[in-house]
Amino acid sequence: MGKESAIKPLEPGFEQVFAQHPWAQMGAKLAQIGEAQVKKALSRAGQGSPADFMALVSPAAEPYLEEMAHLAQALTRKRFGKTVQMYLPLYLSNECHNSCLYCGFSKDNPVPRIRLDQKAVEQEIAVLKGMGVCQVLLVTGDFSAKRAVEYLGQALDWITPHFAQVSMEVQPLSQAEYQVLIKKGLHGVMVYQETYGPQYAKFHPHGSKADFFWRLGTADRLGRAGVHKIGLGALLGLDDWRLDSFYTALLVSHLEKHYWQSKLSISFPRLRPAKGGFQPEHPVSDRHLVQLILAYRIFNENLELSLSTRESPDFRDQVIPLGITSISAGSKTEPGGYANPNTQLEQFEIHDARSPQAMEKALAQKGLETLWKDWDPHFGKPQ
């Protein structure tokens, strides 16, 4: 794996911040939060600290949910207006050398493995373009880093001429590797820590993903590489959602200070049924997911908050107007799924199957405009 011992870090990394916030100690702090801290956090209105965030996700904030919803909605409208961005995932491969317990791509699942070649990618592009899509998120499993970068570089060459904005959600790479891909037009990178807690090793027993700290340092490497957008999140259902999200907020504050040119995005992947039959030990209720989304907005008015098709149509229709600024719709989670659907190869089952156009209509009924394009492919090339 290409770890950059040769590249001297310019800034202290998140690893150091993380070391100063032990899981058990943060758990104890969370348990002690009272009404006064919640009220203080509410008064920060979009400019909060990680401590404020912790108060907003604490049990003490639960009676304030209605107030939080009003505040989050007003902050979102002020910063983002009455708009929601639309992107679609483009799965390139389901190959993976990890065996994460919850994931349909785990190498332990006996499903055929494919990686799209240029022709297959072009078929996907044609379908996506036909749906009016301008922003895509490339997704793969984790495969050998060297081959991955080579392949992703090729894929970007095939894909970037057709879309305004191309981001990706693949395994963590080195700073130098990110720089190569950014030169090819890569806009943003999503890397979720899944969980920051002691159970990480249990859920990620094999492959490169077993390296907790390599993953933890990814956002710093992305910031140093100068990527436009960094996507963060915890996988909801693995451990205590309040604590896991607190660490994400801590990371947000760290990144904002050190990499001021990168935009930050938060996703809310709640565990869905997948091949392998994994059952989350800490399921997150609708009420708690709403509390979490509102907490992020009240903590930080600038965050892009993204809600995918993992969630149900009803839930999305109600929650999007409260603070979400980016969505997908009509997603296929298997490689080649737009041109040649094959649910056997899915990473997970989606819950909201509405097409992007149906989603646009549903948003319009809520007084929200769908932004198909919010970037220009000519922007963002390194100087």
């Binding site: 002020k78 910063r79 207006g81 007084g367 394009k373 970037w375 220009d376």
Partner: protein, 276 residues
């Protein structure tokens, strides 16, 4: 007052005529409205079109990043192409001068206008302008024949530099974009308005019609408003409210308001001993 019955409040003042003759000129182009409208953040193209009509604006900004040049039937552009309304594409999203020049050229090609609102904000959170890059881009774009309206911090010295660089107007911010906080940079704006040889368009942060009126009373040549109108519950009436506020503020400026004073006028004059 005559005419007050027919149209209470507005008509009599109009009939005195001064507003009708009042024109703003930027790069040789005349504007009778001094309210420029930003077009992001609206709930729909229709809501934006309605607000545009109500605002009476004759210059509307349009983000290149939101416009799809490959889609000639782009609904938003269609909605903005109304008689008497000119487009002012902006470069929002670019991070340095080179990108801004490229963006301006793309906008010129796609929208057939050489007007450009130059926005270079490498920081995606506060969207604050980068002056080094803005100066470079203004020089380059002016040489390429663009009418350049740069979005800037309220910095009087920088405004003088932009004059030399070939800007057509300056657009200093009142407060961070989208903050609705009003004239936070008041002291600097006063200097800019006093010293500028270019039209001064106060941009960003005007959250209420009263903020716009205050900017116009101070002598700003125009204001640009987006968020406050777009996110109002009723954008059409809010657009109208801003239109009236801008007119009221301009009228007050032309009518030469009395100086405000924090001290009472002394009843015993201090210089009476000098005689007359």
């Amino acid at each position: 007052m005559a005419g007050a019955k027919a149209n209470p409040g507005v008509a009599p003042i109009f009939k005195r005529g001064q507003l009708k003759k009042d024109r703003l000129i930027i790069a040789g182009k005349e504007f009778s409205s001094r309210l420029f409208l930003g077009t992001g953040k609206f709930s729909s193209h229709e809501a934006m079109g309605g607000a545009l009509k109500a605002s009476g604006s004759e210059l509307v900004t349009l983000a290149l990043k939101r416009f799809d040049p490959q889609n000639p039937g782009d609904q938003m552009v269609g909605m903005l192409r109304q008689p008497g309304v000119s487009l002012l594409p902006n470069t929002s999203g670019v991070r340095h001068a080179k990108e801004a020049v490229l963006a301006a050229q793309l906008a010129r090609e796609a929208l057939e206008t050489n007007w450009i609102k130059l926005e270079i904000h490498p920081d995606p959170r506060y969207l604050l302008p980068d002056h080094e890059e803005t100066l470079k881009a203004t020089e380059a774009l002016a040489k390429l024949g663009f009418v350049v309206l740069p979005y800037i911090n309220a910095d009087p010295v920088f405004c003088k530099k932009l004059e030399s660089a070939g800007a057509a107007a300056v657009m200093p911010l009142a407060a961070p974009i989208g903050s609705n906080r009003g004239l936070m940079t008041l002291a600097m704006l006063e200097i800019i308005i006093k010293e500028s040889t270019l039209p001064v368009v106060i941009d960003a942060g005007l959250g209420a019609p009263s903020h716009a009126a205050q900017a116009m009373e101070m002598g700003a040549d125009a204001v640009l408003v987006n968020t406050a109108i777009a996110i109002a519950e009723d954008p059409i009436n809010m657009a109208l409210a801003f239109k009236l506020a801008v007119q009221a503020g301009r009228m007050a400026y032309l009518a030469e308001m009395g100086q405000t004073s924090s001290e009472a006028q002394a009843s015993s004059p201090l210089t009476a001993f000098l005689g007359s």
